[in-house]
Point group: C2
Chain length 491, copies 2
């Protein structure tokens, strides 16, 4: 009786009955091109002969997978935190500052790395982060405004969960192109992505007039625009925002009562000569928005991660968000959301602390650290230049120089023949191009459509992370595959 009186699908959870927001969410960094690369990998493993002898993963900023070497000090401290007896059993195996740092963390960690921490993160690490921010910006920072997270992604998820109200048409101004975490999270949470286009012709800068018009249009259509996401240095664009632009964005957020989400995970990857990283928090404080208790004029949340920089510890899933101008009531809710998953992983938390507080001149580990860091950064810079130069030499491709981050986001002009071939296969033209390049070269790119691009333009994103000694070869493969594609698709 009961069963018949209630209509429901034959299966509780299938492609039809799944939460439609889940189905609608797109995350291109791990999409069709990557799937195809895994298929090719299996074919190679099965002995099939392909036009290349290895897959080159340029789809994701995953430096260690491209054999970037981890920093010694950082890893040694983590080892000691996991196995504290190593230091007593092997007294000469570790430098003094390694042992001291591990002891410092142990003192603040009842039960060591195996215990849940405060849901907001280990207090000693939050203190370290606050000192780092204060020194970086020349303005005070507070440990109780910092939330440690499993990578920056978790912080973005938590913050957007607070910001976007289900059933309301709440929106977030999001740069186009953008890192698809934002578009996917918005779809998942039922929020609206309000796209503001970066200007490719002006080094992917933000145009304030365009931003204001976009906001006005969205509001006129009934979207309650509650925040603005900014990625600086940019992903996928690699641009660095000028301080003046940051100032304008902050003033607009104040005037328009929007929360600023400042994704600053590439802050240690700056390539532009003479440029340095300026945080949104610093500019905000310079402007007098100090975010003191009761001062919620500017509401700013900044994200950082262990996955990028010269550190590149993606797998450890460390990161933090700093909230500024966010009142106690909301901070308590952020804490509650963090406690739902109890705490972020302790190794990632400690890695975050070590990342922003590396050995200092005079410390026993400093020289090694300095050499390791400089080797990584200078090699990244050389590779960035190599990739941008090689891409700009290809027919139909133009690519802005990267100021920072780990990517190039070149524009590509495809022939009508190529576009029609893509259409015939039912895939976007940029994806068609990336699939063809993959089949020919083993290089995994991400189609620009995954990040968003100006109507009528086509792009792809590539990292410049393949090891330096293989980079010439990789670029040769890319050039050859591209030439073949162009030749095969002439109108």
């Amino acid at each position: 009786m009961l069963r018949r009186s209630f209509s429901r699908a034959a299966v509780a959870l299938n492609g039809t009955t799944i939460n439609p927001n889940v189905k609608a969410a797109k995350y291109a960094v791990r999409g069709a091109v990557l799937d195809r690369s895994m298929e090719l990998q299996r074919k190679m493993a099965a002995g099939e002969k392909l036009p290349f002898d290895k897959i080159v993963p340029c789809n994701i900023g995953n430096p260690h997978a491209c054999l970037q070497v981890p920093l010694s000090f950082h890893r040694e401290v983590l080892s000691l935190c996991i196995s504290p007896t190593l230091a007593t059993d092997h007294p000469h195996a570790f430098k003094k500052d390694v042992v001291e740092r591990a002891k410092h963390y142990a003192a603040g960690l009842t039960g060591g790395v195996g215990a849940y921490t405060n849901s907001q993160g280990i207090p000693a690490v939050r203190e370290e982060i606050a000192e780092f921010i204060a020194e970086r910006d020349g303005h005070p920072a507070r440990a109780d405004r910092i939330y440690l997270t499993n990578g920056a992604s978790e912080g973005v998820r938590i913050l957007l969960t607070c910001l976007l109200r289900s059933g309301k048409q709440d929106g977030l101004l999001t740069p186009i192109p953008q890192y698809p975490l934002y578009s996917a999270s918005l779809t998942l949470l039922g929020g609206a992505l309000v796209p503001y286009h970066l200007n490719e012709g002006a080094s992917w800068g933000v145009e304030m007039e365009n931003l204001r018009n976009t906001l006005a249009a969205a509001r006129a259509e009934g979207t309650e625009v509650r925040g603005i996401a900014v990625i600086n240095p940019g992903n996928p664009t690699g641009n660095i925002l000028a301080e003046e632009q940051i100032k304008d964005i902050i003033q607009m957020a104040v005037d328009e009562k929007m929360v600023v989400l400042a994704d600053e995970v590439y802050q240690a990857n700056i390539w532009k000569k003479g440029a340095s990283f300026t945080s949104f928090k610093k500019v905000a404080c310079d402007m007098g928005y100090m975010g003191e208790d009761g001062d919620e004029r500017l509401q700013l949340v900044s994200f950082h991660s262990t996955s990028k920089g010269y550190f590149g510890e993606c797998g450890l899933r460390g990161g933090y968000m700093e909230v500024h101008g966010i009142g106690a009531e909301v901070r308590a809710e952020l804490y509650k959301l963090s406690s739902l998953s109890l705490c972020s992983n302790t190794i990632g938390q400690l890695a975050t602390g070590i990342m922003i507080n590396p050995p200092k001149p005079g410390d026993p580990s400093f020289e090694t650290f300095e050499k390791e860091r400089d080797d990584i950064l200078s090699s990244l810079e050389r590779r960035s230049i190599m990739v941008h130069k090689a891409l700009n030499e290809l027919e139909g491709i133009t690519c802005n120089e990267a100021d920072g981050a780990l990517y190039a986001f070149p524009r590509i002009r495809l022939s009508n023949k190529a576009k029609l071939a893509a259409e015939a296969q039912g895939v976007p033209a940029d994806e068609y191009y990336c699939l063809k390049i993959l089949d020919e070269s083993g290089i995994v790119l991400v189609p620009g459509s995954g990040f968003g691009q100006e109507e009528g333009t086509l792009h792809f994103r590539t990292t410049f992370l393949p090891a330096e000694e293989t980079m010439h070869e990789t670029l040769k493969m890319m050039t050859k595959a591209h030439k073949k594609f162009m030749d095969e698709h002439r109108d």
Copy 2:
């Protein structure tokens, strides 16, 4: 013009404008009593004299925080995975099986622990888990049905995100009492908690007739009940479901087209003499629901974690979910949701592998492992007995014996005077009791209302994790505080 034409709050994100689902979600394990304990901790640190000399955290199953010692083999392997050179630099520092295991993982991890892994988890670890499940259950298990997660909580979140459709009145049958992750996640995702009461009088067992009536009533009211959560061994109740009960629940899920969420994180904590853990997956397969491709009659998702058992590695945030009878389309969506946060943390992933694949008889590390494991388990068992005995001796308290898990969930009868005093302070009576006990003894309990309890009954949850050598003292403090409370609140 624009600004005035659009009505909005003075601040983008505050207690009024925050997502109301966030505000409504409750997570009692870290609620008012814990807040008060942190306040007392600060007072003690500031030199204030209190009736006790330390806070005893019985609010959360956090064994290492109660000084449970980590397992040597497990930690050593993790150290080597983080710093592979330790083994070559100090060839006599590690046993052969430790080095071999670390090498085994390294072989499957391009770039080591610093690289993002496959979003579903490291294939080598998923293979290990599949072997563990197959051996445990005597039925096949597949690595591609396993998703590694940051603790079990993340798996539950991902699964519920797929199951609950926003805007629909989708519900989940949830045991009462329950672990508040379920209630909080349901509130957050806009789903309905459909409570089915466990029978305290029958060792917290599931009553099928009650379950069926609950389902019928919820459906009659328009709730689309899409799944049933089961916690076995129980949290907070400590009961183990009889195999017959598991069978009935599975059959009901098949008949009623509901997904079973089997929270089995306490599977290695069994205290009842002669009892052993039986997984939902095993019973399902015994019943013929093999979950092969295309067989979606039974849809089952099981969760496991590194945080419990004799392992207790809460801080590492390791865990997995195994899906059974879930089709390819939904599995692809689970993969996509996992990729949104790229992957779970690598150390937690490896810890999960080591947990379910510990040293075997004959391995160099076996004897040490066996001793460490048995010491922990036998001490937990002794402490479980001590706590239950002591609680049952207290006036007004009755407590079912725990079959498993890490908790006691005693019922307490409070006087009218106590209830009125609680009402006067505007707090639930069980919370009032827990706050009074805390103030007197330093022991942090969790009020039963945080887990849900039968109307008109009051409970609290306590772990039995304080170190064995301090347990007598803790129970003495508890007894004293309870007596004082009862004396002060006689009608």
